[in-house]
């Protein structure tokens, strides 16, 4: 992991070279991407490997090859389920799951639009709901999601079913400490902007 001094000087894990993408990732995740020896065990067990163009080991490779753009402009990092299977089995504890989390943060900070619209809309809608009431109001989430880019007509047939089974609360609830929650959001969003 890049030490605070290394981060300050701009030098990476290798004292003699300037900081690269892998150093940034190492500093943010605590795991050194150079440990990856491309065995592919992560990709072999990844449930989304059949749907992504970049698999976990490809992502580690591109990090080590300093290919920031290729990573940020690819939607693969957004298709990660965060199921942690890769991290559980990696022989070198490279923690691909955490690395991919970090890449998503970096991608957002860089203003990339590579995230699939639906996934991006969902995360936004979810977080908006929490900011609004402190807890998730599911109907609000669905409405918000559909209007911000989710498939408008999908699940229309099943929504009544949810309601009939008493599984959709119609009244949004606001917790007492909602200001507390909003403050947390503000502070975290500000911190993310600082990193840009």
């Amino acid at each position: 992991m890049a030490s605070p001094e290394q981060q300050e000087t701009g030098h990476g894990l290798d004292q003699h070279a300037p900081a690269e993408l892998k150093d940034e990732v190492a500093a943010l995740t605590g795991a050194n991407p150079a440990r990856c020896y491309q065995c592919g065990k992560c990709s072999a067990g990844c449930p989304m490997a059949v749907e992504t163009s970049l698999r976990p080991h490809d992502i580690l490779r591109l990090i080590n090859m300093d290919q920031r753009e290729k990573l940020m402009e690819n939607d693969s990092i957004w298709l990660c389920l965060t199921c942690e299977t890769c991290a559980a089995r990696c022989p070198n504890s490279c923690d691909p799951a955490r690395v991919i989390d970090t890449l998503r943060e970096m991608s957002l900070a860089s203003g990339s639009t590579a995230a699939p619209k639906a996934i991006s809309a969902f995360h936004q809608a979810f977080l908006n709901q929490i900011k609004s009431g402190g807890r998730l109001f599911e109907v609000g989430l669905i409405a918000n999601y559909k209007f911000t880019g989710g498939a408008l007509l999908a699940d229309v047939m099943t929504a009544p079913g949810m309601f009939m089974r008493g599984k959709l609360a119609l009244k949004p609830r606001r917790i007492k400490g909602v200001k507390d929650v909003r403050r947390i959001f503000a502070a975290c969003e500000a911190a993310a902007k600082e990193q840009q």
Partner: protein
């Protein structure tokens, strides 16, 4: 056992029967659930997938509340909430910089002293009580115990069972009198939070899970996570359209325990499922008819 109960956002909504069944079995098993006052959302996947600090601060708020409210442990039945709370606790212990930053943001005294427990380990701890109170023979019921991913991984954070070869849910199942089957997709992901945003993936992954459970001879799949339940139950119709296979009821673990304790289907929220639980109830009745009381 007095635990700080953290229901999580879905408990009063789409996972209502999870909460209902849990509340129903709590009293007979001597489980005191005191809901955390003014708890807020843990952030689930969306927070940690887009902002690490947010992904830790949101659950940390709840841990801080629990500490202030005098709880030694927080119990989160939803596997995702459990994972976020336990991860926040772990990350703050391991990363001093993060710990300082989060505490600064929380503006609340917090010494990270609260433990986090999930539904499987809580019920595992109550196995003697379950065995003692079980009145309904579930001997005709074969279930596939589905752990999903977040209950067991990362192992440094969860640690209550072997991540590749867990047995705690099977132990609880055996205590109810039902038979756990041996099957392979026990720890494979159901598709998690992609239910709305990438339904196709969820359908693909869920189908594999259900097919394997079926091939192993299970009458039902038992889950411990509202997302797993939703992906396997709510989305099962989408899977079935292409296979034309028979339906597989999806039960929450407390529902299984509740059936053993002789509680009514109504009380346990068994009418709220998308895939009818009637076949399970019939098997329970068959077991009762055989008269094999433990």
């Amino acid at each position: 056992m007095k635990l700080g109960y953290y229901p999580g956002c879905s408990m009063h909504g789409t996972a209502r029967e999870f909460d209902e069944s849990l509340q129903a079995i709590a009293k007979p098993l001597g489980l005191e659930l005191t809901e955390l006052d003014d708890w807020s959302c843990c952030g689930a996947t969306s927070a940690h997938a887009t902002n690490r600090l947010l992904g830790v601060a949101l659950p940390a708020r709840n841990l801080a509340l629990a500490e202030q409210q005098g709880f030694k442990d927080v119990f989160a039945p939803c596997a995702a909430c459990y994972s976020r709370l336990a991860t926040a606790r772990h990350e703050m212990q391991e990363d001093a910089k993060l710990d300082a930053k989060v505490k600064e943001i929380l503006k609340r005294p917090f010494s990270n002293s609260v433990g986090v427990m999930n539904i499987v380990e809580v019920l595992r701890g109550l196995i003697p009580q379950i065995k003692e109170q079980a009145v309904q023979p579930l001997s005709e019921l074969k279930v596939a115990c589905y752990y999903g991913c977040l209950l067991l991984r990362p192992a440094e954070i969860t640690g209550f069972d072997d991540a590749e070869d867990p047995s705690s849910m099977e132990d609880v199942t055996r205590a109810t009198g039902a038979t756990p089957v041996e099957w392979r997709m026990r720890t494979e992901c159901c598709g998690g939070s992609f239910s709305l945003s990438r339904t196709g993936s969820v359908v693909r992954l869920g189908r594999a899970v259900i097919n394997d459970a079926r091939a192993a001879g299970a009458n039902a799949i038992v889950v411990a996570c509202p997302m797993c339940h939703s992906n396997l139950d709510f989305r099962q119709q989408a899977m079935g359209q292409r296979e034309g296979a028979t339906e597989m009821p999806i039960l929450y673990l407390p529902q299984l325990v509740g059936l053993a304790l002789g509680l009514s289907p109504q009380t346990l929220g068994l009418k709220r499922h998308f895939v009818s639980t009637q076949p399970v109830l019939e098997l329970v009745a068959a077991g009762a008819a055989k008269g094999e009381v433990k």
